[in-house]
């Protein structure tokens, strides 16, 4: 059936993580690119990064629900480790994680895209 072939076409039906990766990098750069870690601005930065990423992703107009998470950590030598695990439809859903840093902070952003049935 013609409909079914389109459904299984990889590039249109599934999550494109390279595209999401570059969207996320641009959002991080535009919010904190030139800044040093600042305790009283960090709240604003994380909120701004997740909102921007979400807006850009929604503009792609795909039938997905999105979850965007962002962690910003000051560089003081502390160890930080993150992990995630997902229980979903592996053919349609996907995620991408971007690790970014500058001289004074680390920023880790993850995007999870879940297809709407």
């Amino acid at each position: 059936m013609p409909g079914m072939e389109d459904f299984h076409n990889g590039s249109e039906g599934s999550f494109n993580s390279e595209e999401a990766d570059s969207v996320v990098k641009e959002c991080i750069e535009s919010v904190v690119g030139a800044d040093d870690y600042s305790q009283n601005q960090v709240n604003k930065w994380t909120a701004s990064i997740v909102e921007r990423c979400l807006t850009q992703l929604m503009k792609q107009g795909k039938a997905y629900k999105y979850i965007v998470t962002c962690a910003v950590m000051q560089k003081t030598g502390a160890g930080l480790h993150t992990a995630n695990s997902c229980y979903w439809d592996t053919t349609m859903d996907g995620s991408c994680t971007v690790r970014w840093e500058n001289r004074t902070m680390y920023c880790v952003v993850s995007v999870f895209a879940v297809a709407i049935a």
Binding site: K65, I67, V68, M73, T76, H81, A83, S85, D89, S110
Partner: protein
């Protein structure tokens, strides 16, 4: 679609999920001090245990579980998340846990199928 299941059986119940997270964290790292060589194994263990308990609930949800473990040495850490989903059926729950040497932050997002 919902035949045979009450609303409670198909909704995202925050207290129930919060309890699952707390138990998973306690059992994976409770009583341990931060150790760089083991933290990889710990984060994996926390997310896998959470996910396994969540899927046993048998609810019609897709789940995403994230875990952050950070050593306590005075660094500032800020996390945020935003979601584009169905407000009436989807939900999330975050738990912050700590002991003398580390912080552990676990978030669970549940999306109705």
């Amino acid at each position: 679609m919902d035949e045979g299941q009450t609303e409670e059986e198909t909704a995202f119940v925050v207290e129930e999920v919060s309890k699952i997270i707390k138990e998973s964290v306690e059992s994976a790292i409770g009583g341990n001090a931060y150790q760089h060589s083991r933290v990889n194994q710990w984060t994996t263990s926390v997310v896998e245990q959470c996910l396994s308990h969540l899927s046993k609930l048998g609810k019609p949800f897709k789940y995403i579980v994230t875990c952050i473990i950070m050593q306590k040495n005075g660094a500032g850490l800020q996390t945020a998340s935003t979601c584009f989903w169905d407000n009436s059926t989807d939900g999330s729950c975050a738990v912050r846990w700590e002991n003398k040497s580390m912080y552990c932050i676990v978030s669970v997002f549940g999306l109705a199928i």
